[in-house]
């Protein structure tokens, strides 16, 4: 996955993401596609969650998944979730849940629903995402509605080991500041991504090349369409703008030559 939050010169925030899924899950050597990724594409839908006839939030989901991976709550915050690969992964949490009866940890599917339905501010969402014990490690990418509100919350499974809360967008309007965007793929911010899966460097390069003056949803879409940010695992690209509540999603394919991940 790749998630990007960008802030234009006026402090307006934009959030985009590619959802990549299905690595090592059935490579089709004839079509050059991943089987699970291809099966997921027809299930991508935009969902408008309503209560009492009013929109609570909108999300982009795989039909049948009850959690939330990409969403906007108008005038409040935008949200995306990226997988985090660590040794003590979600399978440990699941085994603890099933075999030890440890039900005090939250599934990401459930905490994301609770945040989208219950949190009324960026700060409240950030607190919930930062301090809840989780079944699986993950990156939460959260954007607010005011200049400077954007963070990558790097989560371990426990609720007292939350890293990188300090990663914020600058409130400065200086175009020279590198803090007018945040890019998260599937690696911790404080280490370089591995050479065999470096989507961060191309994304950062293309954002810097375009410049802050051009920050917009079209720029995010173009960056998210740049290989290998776009790759054979990418099922959809989504764009969000918090103040308008705008959200859109488009199915993706990556014609050869294209990196498998």
């Amino acid at each position: 996955c790749t998630s990007i939050i960008g802030q234009d010169a006026n402090g307006k925030l934009y959030h985009g993401r590619n959802l990549d899924f299905g690595l090592f899950l059935g490579w089709n050597p004839k079509e050059h596609t991943w089987k699970v990724a291809e099966l997921l594409k027809p299930l991508v839908v935009q969902q408008e969650w309503q209560r009492d006839g009013k929109t609570v939030y909108e999300s982009v989901n795989y039909a049948g998944y009850v959690g939330v991976m990409t969403a906007v709550k108008k005038d409040k915050f935008t949200f995306s979730l990226d997988e985090r690969f660590v040794m003590e992964g979600g399978y440990v949490g699941l085994l603890e849940w099933m075999l030890l009866g440890d039900h005090k940890q939250k599934w990401n599917a459930f905490i994301t629903r609770e945040v989208m339905e219950g949190a009324e501010t960026y700060e409240a969402a950030k607190h919930m995402l930062s301090h809840t014990r989780l079944l699986a490690p993950v990156y939460f990418i959260l954007g607010g509605a005011k200049p400077g509100q954007g963070t990558i919350i790097t989560r371990w499974r426990d609720n007292f080991h939350t890293d990188d809360l300090s990663t914020k967008l600058s409130t400065s309007s200086s175009s020279s500041s590198s803090a007018w965007f945040l890019v998260e793929t599937n690696y911790d911010q404080w280490v370089s991504p591995p050479f065999y899966d470096d989507r961060r460097t191309p994304a950062v390069h293309c954002l810097r090349a375009a410049g802050r003056a051009n920050m917009s949803l079209p720029l995010l879409y173009n960056v998210l369409s740049t290989r290998p940010v776009l790759n054979k695992l990418t099922t959809y690209t989504s764009l969000m703008q918090v103040n308008s509540g705008e959200i859109g999603a488009w199915l993706r394919s990556c014609d050869d030559p294209c990196w498998p991940w």
Binding site: L25, V36, L39, L40, P42, L43, V45, Q46, Q47, E48, W49, Q50, R51, V60, A63, G64, Y65, V66, E83, R84, F85, V86, G89, G90, G93, W97, M98, H103, W107, N108, A109, F110, R113, L135, A136, P137, D198, T201, P202, H205, C206, A209, L217, P218, Y221, N222, V223, T226, R227, P228, T237, A249, W250, L251, R252, D256, P257, C258, W259, P260
Partner: protein
């Protein structure tokens, strides 16, 4: 597959093709959890069944027979431990799709555990 995955920034991809836009559905939180997903899942029934069938096979291949059987044999029980309203939503998706409750649960845990 090309040797170098990054060859330059894409500058003309926007706007996306309209035919690639995904359909929109309303999820009514006022409905009982079992009923919230009925319309969406009815429309996506065949696609969901195709994916879950594939996931079962892949999970067996990844975990091996022993661990797969441990997991799959516990999925019914696992569903009963899910908090409300998610347990009821999973049951509603099962009913609308014709999939077993355990299979819908497997689909929903896939993203959680895939990090291994």
């Amino acid at each position: 597959v090309q040797k170098s995955p990054f060859v330059g920034c894409e500058v003309n991809a926007f706007p996306p093709n309209k035919s690639a836009a995904v359909p929109k559905y309303v999820i009514n939180l006022n409905l009982a959890p079992q009923d919230r997903w009925t319309q969406l899942i009815t429309d996506k029934r065949d696609q969901l069944r195709a994916l879950v069938s594939d996931m079962r096979n892949l999970t067996r291949g990844l975990l091996g027979d022993w661990l797969f059987n441990v997991v799959i044999n516990n999925l019914d029980h696992l569903t009963t431990t899910l908090p409300s309203p998610y347990r009821e939503e999973v049951e509603g998706i099962s009913k609308a799709s014709g999939l077993l409750v355990s299979e819908v649960t497997l689909y929903n845990i896939f993203y959680e555990v895939f990090t291994f």
